[in-house]
Structures are given as structure tokens and as C-alpha cells.
């Protein structure tokens, strides 16, 4: 055994030295928000299993910690560092410039450096579809609850509103935001309170884009026997029968593909956009919402999807409007 010990140590060392190392910096919601961050984490763990990379993840407890987390990854022998969330753009911009030999990727943010890949999603397209689906179920009054009041979430809302108008021009949208700080991603109690107020005012379906706060809306839907629409991950399983569908944002695929490309030496900087066409955004159908999302609704949604992909329908984009 004694002779074996140094040998196994060498084996371990060589293995770690050769493994492709990925550092994942998650946003405040944490890997268990069952939404945005969970999706990113799922993609990274899939890469860990299938590609044999070495993965280390950290959660940014507050915004000030982000830069330090990226720096500590960059200083060590990590090959690729992935930042999740718009709040990390500034940190990556700074650190990526300081470590030009390292590769970086960011989700939901755009950083124009040769060693940074920006993974962007056309959230408004997916939101448009769920807006139309919500209105098929709700008729006159539809709800939206956003997490933190930021342009990204406004983009969800704007696409959603356009989908509603397309389905029923007379339908009204009731829209609430949980807050204006990062705490809004983690305040299910407030989200539930907002949802109850909306349901009480006659709203039938609420689309929630609020990270970990979303569970509060699902609780309200369950108590009031109404419907909710999940976001980012497929959240249908969280409250089967009360979640109409989920607006998927395939952060998992984007993260997995980025890791795969980087490992195979095909990493390229610059922005990549994931829309309906590339299935980067979509709505979810599974055994949990099979019954409530009927075939007719699905057929109509598929038609709209085709029209958006072919360019017949142009979904208004908050980012473009803001410019």
C-alpha cells in the first residue's frame, strides 16, 4: 500500500492537471432557485458528467462579491469561467481584460472582448407565445409578475403583452414588480401577496419571471385554484395542475455548448443569440401540464411560433425600444 500511495497521488495530480476546468459563478438566486440559475447549473453538471470536465461553482451572495469570485477563478488554473446573470457583466468586463489568456462566458449580458462569449436570449419571443397561451385560457384579464425591475424583465413583459394583444386586443394586462433590488429574486412572500391581489382582482393566469420568488406565485395559484406560468427552467412539476406551461430559456443548453466548444478548442468570443428558431427559448409541454394545455391551444401556439420564426410576426423588443 505504501508504494501505491505516491503512485495514486501522481495519478490524481495528472488527472486534475489534464481535466478541463470550468468555474461557474451563479447569481444571487442560487443554484436551487428552480429557475434561471438551476438551468445554468443543470447545463454545467451535464457537461461534468458527459465531457469529464472539472466543475466548481460558487454563488454570489451579493453584487460586490462577483468581481472577486471571477478574479479568484481567473488567478487559478481554470480554463473557462462562466458568469450567470446581467449583474456580472461589469465584473467580467474588468476581469476578462486583466486575464486575456482566459476564456469567459456570460449569460444575459453583453461584453465586447475577444475572450468573452456573450450568451443572449430572445426572451421577448418566448414571452409572446406564453402571452398568447395565457390569453387563450384567461380571456379578459391576464397577469404578469416580474422580479427586479430591470430592462431584461421589462423585455419579458413587453413580449408577453404583445402576445396577449395578438390573441385578444381587448384583454387587459395587470403587471407588478416585486422590487427594485436584488432581494426581489428571493422574496416569495411578497410574490405570493402580489399574486393573491391579482387573482382576487379577476386575473386567471399569471406569468412570473422572478427567479426563486416564483414559488410564491405558484402557492397562490394552488390556493386560489388558478393558473400560473413558470419561467427559465421547466417548472411544470412544481405544482402540477396549476402551472399552465413554462417559458423555457435554455440556459442549460447554452452553458453546455459553450463548455463543449471551449473544451474542443472551438471557443469563439462575441455574442450568440438564442431565439425560438434555435430552440433557445420555447414553452414547455410535459406530463404535468398535458391536461391543462389542450391540443387546440398547442396548435395555435405552434402556428404563432412558425410565424415568428419566419418573420411574419415581429415581436416588439424592449431593448430596441429603449435605444
Amino acid at each position: 500500500m505504501k508504494q501505491l500511495f505516491p503512485l495514486s497521488l501522481v495519478l490524481i495530480l495528472t488527472q486534475t492537471a489534464f481535466a478541463f476546468k470550468v468555474g461557474l459563478v451563479l447569481d444571487k438566486g442560487g443554484k436551487d432557485d428552480k429557475s434561471f440559475n438551476s438551468s445554468a447549473y443543470a447545463g454545467a453538471t451535464k457537461a461534468q458528467k458527459e465531457l469529464g470536465i472539472e466543475l466548481k461553482y460558487v454563488e454570489a451572495m451579493d453584487t460586490n462579491a462577483i468581481e472577486n469570485l471571477h478574479r479568484s477563478f481567473a488567478k487559478k488554473d481554470f480554463d473557462l469561467i462562466v458568469g450567470i446573470g446581467f449583474a456580472q457583466a461589469d465584473a467580467i468586463k474588468k476581469i476578462a481584460a486583466q486575464f486575456p489568456e482566459k476564456k469567459f462566458a456570460i449569460v444575459d449580458g453583453e461584453v465586447n472582448l475577444p475572450n468573452v462569449k456573450s450568451l443572449l436570449f430572445e426572451e421577448h419571443e418566448g414571452s409572446y407565445l406564453v402571452g398568447a397561451i395565457a390569453t387563450m385560457k384567461s380571456k379578459t384579464k391576464v397577469g404578469f409578475i416580474g422580479g427586479m425591475d430591470i430592462p431584461l424583465i421589462r423585455r419579458f413583459e413587453m413580449g408577453y403583452a404583445a402576445g396577449i394583444k395578438k390573441q385578444n386586443p381587448k384583454a387587459t394586462l395587470v403587471s407588478n414588480y416585486i422590487g427594485i433590488t436584488g432581494e426581489a429574486w428571493n422574496n416569495p412572500a411578497k410574490a405570493k401577496e402580489l399574486a393573491l391581489a391579482q387573482y382576487n382582482s379577476g386575473v386567471e393566469v399569471i406569468f412570473v419571471a422572478a427567479g426563486a420568488s416564483g414559488s410564491g406565485v405558484f402557492d397562490a395559484a394552488e390556493e386560489k385554484k388558478k393558473l400560473a406560468i413558470g419561467v427559465d427552467s421547466n417548472q411544470n412539476w412544481m405544482k402540477p395542475g396549476f402551472i399552465l406551461t413554462s417559458m423555457l430559456k435554455r440556459v442549460d443548453i447554452a452553458v453546455f455548448d459553450t463548455i463543449k466548444d471551449a473544451k474542443e478548442g472551438k471557443f469563439a468570443g462575441g455574442p450568440v443569440r438564442f431565439g425560438l428558431k434555435s430552440k433557445g427559448v420555447d414553452y414547455s409541454v410535459d406530463e404535468h401540464n398535458d391536461k391543462i394545455l389542450d391540443a387546440e391551444t398547442r396548435k395555435k401556439a405552434e402556428e404563432l411560433k412558425k410565424q415568428i420564426i419566419s418573420g411574419q410576426i415581429v415581436v416588439p423588443d424592449y431593448y430596441k425600444k429603449a435605444k
Binding site: P188, E193, A197, Q198, S215
Partner: protein, 290 residues
């Protein structure tokens, strides 16, 4: 009053009760602690622990009542820790309170990682493992009980003297240390209940930092209420009312910016502290060691 207004009013009242419950628990606990002379800025940490252990216990046992008990116990233990440092080792009360808050933020991911492989949140609780309204009733009963105790009983005078004139109480043969220990532990118990209300009634799981500043809101309510049970009770209700109104106004088009309504509770606190509604006098012995 027609039926529709009646319905809207009743949902508003329930909404106020929901918003007020965690504040009431924490503020009443904080009131006890501060009246006995111990500055209480650790409400946030005690609430967090209460919320965490309530959610964990309810998840494993399926009983919200056991969860509620475990939550209050967790608050009590945090308070026990604080009293050991503050009363026994005579550390600075503000620094210790801050440490308790930071400790609570750190403990949560540590425990959830062991139990659920998750960093700082518990799995969602099924509807049978949650409360519908029981903690709301408890919070109001508890506030009423404390009001009665403060105005009608001799033992409450010990707590008040421990905060106002600790030397005098000591001279009369009552141990200030014991009175403060009792107040602190009860404070932890109440704050733990407040946390349990959050994770078992207002939400359906523990999520990181889910108190979202409610511990400090409770402290503000208590100062606004001039360290007296009845005004503190109304301060909590007022905070909950502004929150409920703000939620309702967000959807409607009133012309008043939502942000303005959101700052109301804080604005009221500042005005109150500035002495516009009469002087807000802290207990004289607050923060003093004996």
C-alpha cells in the same frame, strides 16, 4: 357598502394581517429585549433561523405545528447564544447582534447542503405542511397578551426597571441578569415564530435571506411605537397597510408613482424618529451592562 367593496376590503384586511404577522412577532420580541435594556438588532438572524428550522421540521414531519415549534426553538437558541455573549461575557451588544445576523446567513447554506444538497434553500412544502392562517391569529393574540402583561402585572415592572434603572432593580434584590436573560430568550422565541410564519405561511419553503429586512422593519416599528406595546402594534399594522396598498396601487393607474408609496414606511419612521409625533424615548439603561 355593496358586495364588491366588502370583498375588496376583506381581502385587504387579510393581506394586512399577513404582512403584519412576522413584524408583530419580531417587534414584540424586540420590545421585551429592549425594555429590559438589551439592544436588539439580531431580530433578522433569529427570524432567519426560525424560518429555516420551521421549514426543515415541517418538511420531514409533515406537521406545520411541529415546524412552528422547531422554528421558535431555533430562535430561542440563537437568543441563548446572544445572551451568553452579551450577559455573561459582557460583549458589545451591537457588535454581537451583527455577528448573530451574519452567523444566521452562514448557517443556513451549511445545513441545507448537508440535508438537501442545496445551497441555502429547502424543498417546497406541500400544502398540508403549511399554515393557512393560524400564525396570524397567534401573532395578534400574542400582541394582546403582551399588552395586558405590560399594563397589568408586577413582573413586567421588573423588565421595565431592568431597562430604565438597572441599579435600582438590583438594589431591590432582583437579579437584573436573570430578568434580561428571560427577556432575551422570550424575544428569540417570538422572533423564531415570526420566521416560522414566513416559511410556513407566507411562503412555502426557506429561501436565502427570505426575511428581506423584516427584522429591521420590526425594530423600526418598535422605535416608532416608542417601546410601548400598543403603539408598536399599530406601527406594525401601519407598515403592513402601506405594503398592502402599494401592492394594490402597482396594478392600478393612480398617477402616484409606486416608488413613492414604497418609501412610505421608511419615511414615516424617519419622521417619527425626528420627533414630530412627540419624543421617542429609549429606555435609559439600554445597552448598559450591569
Amino acid at each position: 357598502m355593496d358586495q364588491e367593496t366588502g370583498l375588496a376590503l376583506s381581502t385587504l384586511l387579510i393581506s394586512i394581517a399577513r404582512g403584519a404577522a412576522p413584524l408583530l412577532f419580531a417587534a414584540m420580541g424586540g420590545l421585551l429585549s429592549e425594555r429590559s435594556g438589551v439592544i436588539q438588532i439580531a431580530l433578522e438572524g433569529m427570524m432567519l433561523m426560525g424560518a429555516l428550522f420551521a421549514a426543515i421540521t415541517s418538511y420531514f414531519t409533515g406537521s406545520p405545528w411541529l415546524g412552528f415549534a422547531a422554528g421558535s426553538l431555533a430562535g430561542l437558541i440563537m437568543a441563548g447564544l446572544k445572551s451568553f455573549f452579551v450577559l455573561k461575557l459582557r460583549t458589545d451588544q451591537i457588535v454581537t447582534g451583527t455577528a448573530i445576523n451574519i452567523l444566521a446567513v452562514g448557517i443556513a447554506p451549511f445545513i441545507t447542503k448537508i440535508l438537501f444538497q442545496s445551497t441555502g434553500s429547502t424543498p417546497n412544502l406541500p400544502i398540508e405542511a403549511r399554515f393557512v392562517y393560524a400564525p396570524l391569529v397567534i401573532s395578534f393574540l400574542l400582541s394582546g397578551g403582551l399588552m395586558y402583561w405590560f399594563s397589568q402585572t408586577r413582573s413586567s415592572l421588573w423588565v421595565q426597571f431592568a431597562g430604565e434603572a438597572p441599579q435600582a432593580l438590583q438594589a431591590s434584590g432582583i437579579s437584573v441578569g436573570k430578568v434580561r436573560l428571560f427577556s432575551l430568550l422570550t424575544c428569540g422565541l417570538f422572533a423564531g415564530m415570526g420566521g416560522a410564519t414566513l416559511s410556513l405561511c407566507l411562503a412555502s419553503a426557506y429561501s436565502p435571506n427570505m426575511t428581506a429586512g423584516r427584522g429591521f422593519m420590526a425594530l423600526a416599528a418598535l422605535i416608532f411605537g416608542r417601546w410601548r406595546p400598543l403603539p408598536t402594534f399599530f406601527a406594525c399594522l401601519l407598515f403592513a397597510l402601506t405594503d398592502a396598498i402599494q401592492i394594490r396601487l402597482q396594478g392600478a393607474t393612480t398617477g402616484i408613482p409606486v416608488q413613492f408609496i414604497q418609501i412610505l414606511p421608511y419615511l414615516i419612521t424617519i419622521i417619527a424618529l425626528a420627533g414630530f409625533f412627540g419624543r421617542s424615548q429609549a429606555p435609559k439603561g439600554l445597552g448598559q451592562h450591569i
